[in-house]
Symmetry: C2
DNA sequence: AACCACCTAACTAACAGTTGTTAGGCATTT
DNA sequence: AAATGCCTAACAACTGTTAGTTAGGTGGTT
């Protein structure tokens, strides 16, 4: 019955990422995944040991793809402020266009056990996080790189996380969800604080 | 067998908040809740129509308690910068000591349907969000209040959200999870940006 | 060319356990 | 007597997972 020999394993992972990101681990059954792929539930167990393993493969796939792109920006040769601006833009862009990645990360922050957190920290985010901290330290040698790096990430990612509720809050405009607008706002805030008296960004 | 007549309904809600916050809606069974309360699953259905209703009662309870405390700070008579500093501190404190509230909010952001988002926006957060926006506008009349308000919330809340992974990231110190430290960092950043050349905060 | 063994990738059918929920009963209080 | 607050027992639906089977492709031997 199985006509063409495609890369089923990859298809399973891709669709799992989508489903897990949308509904969360507990709300996606192996039958849901099998249906999406177009095979029977039992067939999933040929490719993966169990649901947990499939989930882990999914988040690893989703997360490891992002790190490399952002690492590039941080390694480019330019003044610190320019690099920061580029980083913010790229981060906003990535997190904005790949909703699955962002939601999986959000979910992991809530439900990931210690072991998985440690894995993510050390194998996926560590390098990039350090580089970002060092970049900030270049701009202000006296700051706390850890806190400042998190602050940068928070400004970008939280804007996107809160999108579902922000659209109902007064003062919402459609620009508020556009990459350029968010990135520019964040960069300006980081440079000048709330007071935008001095030099204009971009 | 049931000895004393307490306020079971409230106990159910309190424990549900805790459980739903910790594990999420799908990962908490009505049996789990019943066990925690010390009654049989069927007895829950005397107090609540179904699981959904119980969940809704839980988040309403958890969320509505917070709004009033923060609203107070915003109504006090003081220079804008002082009010902002107090607000940041109070928000950090609240979000830090009530982990259930924070986690429920995180979960709602991921899984709340449109109707619930609208409810939360209009009935719970709207007023406070506006007040915060106006406060920021007082400090800088040219800013976008919506964006700036979210930025303030993001700086505080994301620090706390990321705690599970931050502890494994290099450069982490235990101060990074203390209310004072976070609040001071956020306020300084908002006032001066990353450059802390000028006046010192606090 | 024809046969065989083997591997791959799917299938059917069923399992034991958990889920939310309901019907009906029993005891205590008003 | 009525209402309250809990109970026991059971329900159908759904869960992750397994055992056993089958169809098609591959490579080696006759």
């Amino acid at each position: 019955m199985h006509v063409i020999k495609e890369n089923t394993r990859q298809t399973i992972i891709d669709l799992s990422i989508k489903l897990f990101a949308r509904s969360g681990y507990a709300n996606v059954s192996v039958r849901d995944i099998a249906n999406a792929v177009g095979i029977k539930p039992a067939s999933l167990y040929y490719h993966f040991d169990n649901k947990q393993t499939l989930y882990l493969a999914s988040i690893k796939e989703s997360f490891s793809l992002k790190a490399s792109v952002l690492a590039e920006v941080l390694q480019m040769q330019a003044p610190a402020e320019i690099k920061l601006k580029h980083y913010i833009y790229k981060l906003t862009e990535l997190a904005s266009e790949d909703e699955s990645f962002r939601r999986l990360l959000q979910r992991e922050m809530l439900d990931g056990d210690e072991k998985r957190m440690q894995y993510l920290a050390e194998k996926v985010f560590q390098e990039q996080f350090n580089a970002l901290g060092m970049l900030v330290a270049e701009i202000d040698p006296d700051c706390d790189p850890h806190m400042s790096a998190i602050s940068i990430l928070s400004l970008v990612l939280y804007h996107l996380e809160t999108a579902p509720i922000r659209v109902f809050l007064k003062g919402h405009k459609k620009e508020h969800d556009q990459v350029d607008y968010i990135a520019r706002h964040v960069f300006k805030l980081l440079m000048n604080g709330l007071l935008q008296t001095s030099k204009d960004a971009l």
